[in-house]
Amino acid sequence: MTIVSHLSAAGDVMKIGIQGRFDFGSHHDFRETYDKTDSSIKEFHVDMAKTTYLDSSALGMLLLLRDHAGSDTVIKIINCNTDVYKIFEISNFDQMFDIIPAS
């Protein structure tokens, strides 16, 4: 599991890429990526292109990000493969996040 983050040149979009398993073991690293950010960020993009596994604690971590970002900030979960998309569908997380399948 590796988590990489990248801030856009304008400083308003943060991209968080999750490689490998996204589970309880990612808790610390995932939190660290956004913990020091402030309200200047208008969008978070969580990139699932290289995510191989997702469990319910990962959903919980996304809720923590949602809580940190506040309701005015857009959170997009991008590049979801079929399996990952299915998990978001079952949990109805599309009500809280923009879930975008891999093109």
Partner: protein
Amino acid sequence: MSESQQLKILITEDNIADCLIINKLVKDQGYRTVIAHNGLESIESYKKEKPDIILMDALMPQMDGFEAAKRIKLLVGEDFVPIIFLTSLSDDISLVSCLEAGGDDFLSKPYNSIVIAAKINAFKRMVVLHRTVQEQRDEITRRNEYLLQEQKIAKRVFDNVAHLGCLGAPNIKHLLSPMSVFNGDVLLASKKPSGGMIVFLGDFTGHGLPAAIGAMPVAEIFYGMVAKGFGVETILEEINKKLHIILPVGFFCCACIIDMDYSWQRIKLWNGGLMDVLLKDNEGQVLSYPSSHLPLGILSPDKFSSECVNSDMKVGERIYLFSDGIVDLQDKQGNEFELDGFAGFLFENKNPDEIFEHVIDQDKLSGEANAESNDDVTFVEITMVADDVIAGKHELVESSEQHGARDWVMSFEMFDHTIRDFNPIPLMLHVTMEVPELRAFNNDVCMILSELITNGVDHGILGLDSNLKITANGFQEYYNLRNARLNQLSGESLHISLRHKPNKFGGVLIIRVVDTGSGFDVRKLNVGFPEMSQLSGRGIPLLRTLCESVVYEGSGNTVEAVFRWKNTQDDT
């Protein structure tokens, strides 16, 4: 042991001169020494002195160093006692023999004090490290045992709270395989006071203590509210509200609740975050009810939706619920036991009695292959059964309580908004339960109240035709029409009055319900209603079974039911 003086070194050497030299060299380093002159003595010294490091000559009379090293290594068990061979041999074969005998290193003759000091120091560090690791391991084992013991006790408390209900009912089969002592899953089932049953399956994020702590209030709310006659929507709203308050952000409970209505052969279902619920009907079709809500505990009460799906379910039909762990199960071919696969399996399997057992077998197989299951797995099968409402048993209530309300009248009137939004039954039952012995008849009273109030609202005020409910489509139409009309109420009211009078054998409860609807032809109803169909006419015959009398008056918008109860203890 950390002090070099305390390190004890066993020197085994048959040559007296060599022995004196090495003994001096080692002592000069500040270590204690013990001397043995052959293999046998070395073994005896080891047993008696328990040295930390052994220096062993290879070639000795009586027993050589190779044999002695082998035997000592057997004696040390899981401790680490390095054996360093003292040897003038330098050919590879001899050195390999030293290693094979359990030797850890060599010292070549002639001896060099610097090399000896370096080797002893290196092994001393290893011995210390080995002991530290062992001590920590033992400490962890002790703590783990203590923790497991605590969890076992806590689990008994948890089980007493969570398994109060009717999970043992013959129409429920379930499989719970806990990952640790506690399972992130909670399965609750309780009979409704008005007949039928409500089943709740929840899967908390995480396992163990955090999940079990969340499950406690869920179980309390569920059993408390079902017993008081609340509907599934209200129960869900209450559980969601509680979990939203107590769970930290990021923790939630995927859940499904099913209200089994035996008398109408209907189910009401809410699925938030669990796998598709599957229903196999008597024609062999498989219907799925996917999750249509966020899990419990995420949304604040104002955003939460308890909207349920209504569906037909005939006697003998089975419904299947899963926690998400089931997808990790593997079938015999080693394929992922995906839900699609299970739906296909359900579809193909002709004998419904075998389905549950098949899944259990799969679980055992995967359990053997992979002892550490990744998630909790809960699998539940519920079968629709025929109406069992009449079979309700009356549990005895201690009649020593001479207190309590016995002789009273209560009157309650609801208007438009309250008719639409409020379920008066829990309130009514709360009052009737103030009559101590009447508590044993809680189910009967709840059923009578439900029937009278539903009839008053649905048929009296809303003017709905119960014949609509005969077909599946009709049922949906009935509900849609009901909701639409409830939203348009204007100037309507429903008046409920309860009167209780005690007598020598028990008491009489008179329930009177008056609605502002236009009524119907009472004569037609009171002469018995042979024209009513089996399905839609159950309510009133049921009332007649339970009550001494049920009489419609006026234009049919007033009904009075008399429920006479006897204290069962007086009969025996």
